[in-house]
């Protein structure tokens, strides 16, 4: 059983999943955002009838097509990995993912894939209006696809709307709407799609800035910048707004993750938000675990209290309180207390399993009613089931440095993009953008930076919730399959080669098309 699992299987499986997800996410956000930008451009073409707008739409559609085609099906590998590397998890999740992913497959994927053909093949075959509707449907379909995947991911961050069936060892959906409107899902969906819109806007700005630097395609560049800057500015503000809301939700449902990405160790009133900081090795400890502490930081006093509780004098617990000390007022449990409850939940499962093995139906029924059909047991004990697998409270602390830097990098870059979009718009309106070559270069540099920010968001989301694969219910080392580390390592290398080749292909085809420019 699990005691024989090699730790390196866990590490390699995690590394493989991270690699696949990171590469997959290179392609996705551009599809999410560029589809809407193209739809807006085509709408202007249909309304004005100006052929230049058609040319412009077709140019960006070409880049969209390259990205869409290269990225397609890269996400399916993640599903393969669930079945092979994460079999305990896949089984335990039960039918929770079934409904969202089935809806994604039927509704969104077919909507998207059917109308993509009209987008590319239908210019002279269908009416202008039908073509325009198809373009909008591709954009809506792509974003609907993202919704269902993000709903599934949000459930892993905050499992709701299900009950555990001890007979099948699976979770069963009891409330679809609770899963769909999970606060984490709502925040995650909005934050993710707006970040995709922002990424695509920066991409369009970057390519247009390159044309301006080369003194080419002035008409195309100016119109593209106008649309991308307005769309990007609105999206970047929404990213900031939904990010704030997301942080507040995380503080509530994943408080350890929240404290980790702020490197916030000791709770206080008027808690300070670190705007910028550098961590280094220190003697500081949370329980028996050494953590890095600030060598330098710029903080905003009271802002963390305002952000989490809406009151600058509110008390915000740090990692020490959340993990070791607990709350004097019983507002939250320490990890030790959660571990005790998790063990009780597991003992109940052991007793039930034993009763079933002995074919003692009376005892099994009593246990079912006492525990697994008891709402209070599920809410107060089974929800901490995963803590039974922790050896020490400190095991519940994620990597603070990775969480802190990925969060702060994402936020700092996010603010930079607000400035980039706003200044691009301002300079364009004033007619000074083409002469500001230093700013055009900044726009160009923003293209790789926006990808880094976007990936950082996922690094934070996934690394920050360690050790959990399903928050509070299942740690990663229980979720993994009993397979050899060697086979996972081999496929890791295979993926690294495959995805790198795909990325090189995408970039080279795209660069060639950009250099070619719009066709007549």
């Amino acid at each position: 059983m699990i005691e024989h699992i090699d730790v390196s299987v866990v590490d390699w499986s995690r590394a493989q999943f991270a690699l696949t997800a990171i590469y997959h996410w290179i392609f996705v956000p551009l599809t999410l955002g560029l589809s809407f930008i193209i739809a807006m451009m085509e709408t202007i073409y249909v309304r004005t009838g100006m052929e230049e707008w058609k040319k412009l739409t077709k140019f960006w559609m070409t880049l969209f097509g390259i990205n869409f085609a290269i990225g397609i099906a890269t996400g399916i590998i993640l599903e393969f990995e669930f079945g092979t590397n994460w079999s305990n998890y896949s089984w335990f999740v039960g039918d929770i993912f079934g409904a969202p992913l089935a809806i994604e497959g039927i509704l969104a994927f077919f909507l998207e894939s059917t109308f993509v053909a009209v987008m590319f093949f239908g210019w002279n075959k269908v009416s202008k209006k039908f073509h325009l509707i198809s373009t909008w449907l591709v954009a809506i379909g792509a974003n609907l696809s993202a919704l269902w995947i993000l709903v599934a991911n949000a459930w892993m961050q905050n499992p709701v709307g299900m009950v555990f069936n001890p007979d099948t060892a699976r979770n069963e959906m009891v409330n679809f709407w609770a899963i769909l409107f999970n606060p984490v899902a709502v925040d995650k969906f909005l934050h993710t799609i707006f970040s995709g819109f922002l990424l695509a806007s920066i991409f369009v700005l970057g390519v247009s800035a390159w044309f301006m630097l080369k003194n080419r395609e002035e008409w195309l560049s100016k119109r593209s910048i106008l649309i991308a800057a307005v769309f990007g500015l609105a999206s970047s503000l929404m990213v900031a707004f939904t990010g704030d809301s997301s942080a507040r939700t995380i503080a509530e449902v994943q408080p350890v993750k929240f404290a980790a990405f702020e490197a916030y160790y000791d709770g206080s009133k008027n808690a300070e938000l670190v705007a910028f900081g550098i961590l280094k090795n220190s003697d500081k400890q949370i329980g028996d675990k050494k953590v890095k502490d600030f060598v330098f930081r710029i903080g905003i006093p009271g802002f963390l209290s305002v952000m989490t509780k809406g009151d600058k004098d509110a008390y915000v617990p740090g990692l020490n309180q959340l993990v070791i000390e607990g709350s004097d007022k019983g507002e939250y449990l320490s990890i030790s207390q959660k571990m005790e409850r998790g063990r009780e939940a597991r003992n109940a499962l052991i007793k039930y399993k034993r009763a079933k093995m002995l074919n003692d139906k009376v005892e099994a029924d009593v246990l079912l009613n006492e525990y697994f059909r008891n709402k209070k047991f599920n809410e107060d004990y089974f929800r901490y089931f995963g803590y039974a697998f922790l050896k020490a409270p400190e095991d519940a602390i994620p990597n603070v440095s990775v969480s802190f830097y990925s969060f702060h990098l994402m936020v700092i870059l996010g603010f930079l993009f607000i400035v980039v979009c706003a200044l691009s718009l301002l300079m364009l309106v004033r007619g000074t953008l083409m002469n500001n070559r230093w700013f055009l270069r900044i726009i160009l540099i923003s293209v790789p930076l926006v990808y880094i920010a976007s990936e950082s968001g996922w690094v934070l989301a996934e690394m920050g919730r360690q050790p959990w694969i399903i928050q509070d219910l299942m740690p990663v080392n229980v979720a993994v399959s009993q397979i050899s580390a060697g086979s996972v390592m081999a496929t890791f290398i295979l993926f690294a080669v495959l995805f790198t080749a795909l990325l090189i292909a995408e970039v080279s085809i795209m660069v060639k098309q950009i250099k070619t420019g719009p066709k007549q």
């Binding site: 070409t62 085609a69 093949f121 075959k125 697998f389």
Partner: protein
């Protein structure tokens, strides 16, 4: 159900013409798609990513028992 022949024929010619008149980048991208799908479904899925529980057990009852055993008997591996 009666098949609408003119519509089907239009649909076929829509895709046929679309693929036939595809640009150079489109052809290149389609080649990449086909190679990629072959690698993903014919190589990776078949040879490297069998479903662990489906391969090891015959039915859901056995799979349930196995996972339940892991959830109740496990001593987790050290990180």
């Amino acid at each position: 159900m009666k098949l609408n022949i003119p519509f089907v024929s239009k649909l076929i010619s829509f895709y046929y013409d679309g693929f036939r008149n595809m640009s150079a980048w489109g052809k290149k991208v389609w080649l990449i798609i086909i190679i990629k799908l072959f690698i993903i479904f014919a190589l990776l899925r078949l040879f490297f990513f069998p479903d662990f529980l489906n391969r090891k057990f015959e039915n859901d009852d056995q799979r349930s028992k196995y996972v339940l055993e892991n959830l109740t008997n496990s001593n987790i591996a050290d990180d």
